[in-house]
C-alpha cells in the first residue's frame, strides 16, 4: 500500500482512539495493533508529528507502577482535523465500494 495513504488512515485511527479518552503512548499502540497489523514504529512518528502540528497536547501523569507517563490529549484543532479526515475517508471508501459492487459480486464468473 502507498506509504502516504496508509499513514493518513493511521492518523485517522490514532485521532479516533484519543477522542474517547486520553492515553499514553504504548496504550494507543496496543489498542491499534489489536485491530490492524501495524508496527509500533509507524504509530510513534504519527503521535510525534500530530503533537507538533498542535492536534494533541501532552501531559505527564504517574502510573500505578510509579514512573510518569506521557499522556496525549486531542485539542480543538485536532478534533477539526479528525472531522475533515473522517469525511475524506468516508467519501473515498464509499466511492471504492460503488466501484467494487457495480453489477453485484460476480467476479468469480470472469475466469470460469
Amino acid at each position: 500500500m502507498n506509504a502516504q495513504f496508509k499513514r493518513g488512515i493511521l492518523e485517522l485511527c490514532v485521532l479516533k482512539e484519543l477522542m474517547a479518552k486520553d492515553m499514553y503512548g504504548y496504550e494507543i499502540i496496543s489498542e491499534i495493533s489489536q485491530h490492524l497489523d501495524v508496527n509500533e514504529n509507524t504509530i510513534y512518528p504519527i503521535l510525534r508529528r500530530l503533537t507538533k502540528d498542535g492536534y494533541f497536547e501532552t501531559y505527564l501523569k504517574a502510573s500505578d507502577k510509579g514512573a510518569a507517563r506521557k499522556y496525549y490529549k486531542v485539542t480543538k484543532k485536532g478534533y477539526q482535523h479528525y472531522v475533515k479526515l473522517r469525511n475524506d475517508w468516508d467519501s473515498f471508501i464509499g466511492g471504492v465500494y460503488e466501484i467494487l459492487n457495480k453489477g453485484g459480486k460476480e467476479d468469480a464468473k470472469v475466469f470460469e
Binding site: 502516504q4 508496527n39 514504529n41 509507524t42 510513534y44 512518528p45 510525534r48 508529528r49
Partner: protein, 315 residues
C-alpha cells in the same frame, strides 16, 4: 532495553537529528518500552515490536524535514507567489551553488521561499502559469568569505503534476518530496539529490560526486548515473526498469521492487536487501555485489552476472 535505546540513539545521531529531538524520542521510547515490558514483552522482541532503530530514526528525520518546509521560522521568507493556469507545470532550474527543494504545499498556487539570498538581482524567478523558471543570471566569481549560498524552497499544490522538471545545479542540493511528476531530469555535480514520497513516471538522476537518495518512491522507470557519489534506494517500487550506472560510487538497495534491475559499475559495490526484480542484470569490473533476500519463493531471473575481480553473492 538499554541496548535497544543506545542503538536508537546512535541511529538518530547518524540521521543528524538535534540533541533536543534525540532526548525527547529516547525518553518516549524508554517509557513505551517500560510499559510494554510490564505487559510481558520480552527484550528480544523489542525490535519486532517497536521497529528497527534505523527505521525509527529515518521516519523522524523525514518528519523533521517536513517541518522545515513550512518554514518561515527557519529563516525562509516568501519571495514570490504565482497562480496556476492548469493542472500541471513545467519546471526549469539552472543554478550554481544554490540548493532547491520542492514539496507539497497547502495553497492553490506556487510559493517560492528563499533563505540566505544575498542579491535578488542575481536570479530570475518567474512563472507564466505553466512554466516555473528559477535561474541564476549572473556568473559566480571566485569570492572569498562568501560561505552562504541561497536556498530555495518551493511549495507546489497537492493536485498539480510536474510534467517536466529539468534542473541543473553545480554544487547545490536538489530535493523533492510528496509530489507527482512525469519526467524528472535532475543533475548535479557535487550536490545531493533526494526524492522522498514521490509518485513519478520517469526519473533521470545524475550526480557526479553527490549522493542520490530515493525513499518511498513509486516510479515507472528510474535511471541513475553517478561517478563517485553513492546511491541509496529504500522502499521503492518501479514498474519497469531501474538502471544504475556508477563508476566508483557505492549503491545500497533496500525493499526495492522492479521488473528489471540493471546495475553497471566499475569499482563501486552494490549492497541489496529485499530486492525483488523479475530480471536482474549485474556487471562490474572490480566492485563487489551482495544481495540478500528473505523471500526465497520469489524467483529472480538473472540476465547477466559478471564481474572481473569483484565478488558476486546472491542469497
Amino acid at each position: 532495553m538499554q541496548k535497544y535505546l543506545s542503538n536508537l540513539e546512535e541511529a538518530m545521531k547518524q540521521e543528524g537529528l538535534s540533541e533536543e529531538v534525540i532526548k525527547e524520542v529516547l525518553s518516549d521510547h524508554e517509557e513505551m518500552i517500560t510499559a510494554a515490558m510490564e505487559e510481558g514483552v520480552q527484550e528480544e522482541d523489542l525490535t519486532e515490536k517497536f521497529g528497527n532503530p534505523e527505521d525509527i530514526a529515518r521516519a523522524i528525520s523525514m518528519d523533521n524535514i517536513e517541518e522545515d518546509t513550512s518554514g518561515e521560522e527557519q529563516g525562509y521568507r516568501l519571495l514570490k507567489a504565482f497562480d496556476l493556469k492548469g493542472e500541471h507545470i513545467e519546471v526549469e532550474g539552472k543554478l550554481l551553488n544554490e540548493s532547491i527543494s520542492f514539496t507539497r504545499g497547502k495553497g492553490t498556487g506556487i510559493e517560492v521561499f528563499v533563505k540566505d539570498m544575498p542579491k535578488e538581482s542575481d536570479y530570475t524567478v518567474k512563472c507564466d502559469g505553466e512554466t516555473l523558471t528559477i535561474k541564476r543570471t549572473t556568473k559566480l566569481f571566485f569570492s572569498f568569505g562568501q560561505k552562504q549560498s541561497a536556498k530555495f524552497r518551493i511549495n507546489i499544490p497537492a493536485n498539480i503534476l510536474i510534467k517536466n522538471a529539468d534542473i541543473n545545479i553545480t554544487n547545490g542540493k536538489i530535493s523533492m518530496k510528496k509530489l507527482m511528476s512525469q519526467n524528472l531530469k535532475l543533475k548535479t555535480v557535487n550536490g545531493k539529490i533526494s526524492l522522498k514520497d514521490m509518485t513519478n513516471d520517469n526519473d533521470h538522476l545524475t550526480s557526479v560526486n553527490g549522493k542520490i537518495k530515493l525513499y518511498d518512491v513509486t516510479a515507472n522507470k528510474t535511471f541513475v548515473s553517478q561517478v563517485s557519489g553513492s546511491t541509496k534506494m529504500k522502499n521503492t517500487t518501479v514498474q519497469n526498469e531501474v538502471y544504475i550506472r556508477s563508476v566508483s560510487g557505492d549503491v545500497e538497495l533496500k525493499d526495492v521492487t522492479a521488473t528489471d534491475i540493471e546495475y553497471h559499475s566499475v569499482s563501486g559495490s552494490l549492497k541489496g536487501k529485499e530486492v525483488y526484480p523479475k530480471t536482474l542484470s549485474l556487471k562490474s569490473v572490480s566492485g563487489d555485489i551482495y544481495i540478500k533476500n528473505s523471500n526465497k519463493e520469489h524467483k529472480i531471473k538473472i540476465k547477466n552476472k559478471q564481474s572481473l575481480s569483484g565478488k558476486i553473492t546472491l542469497e
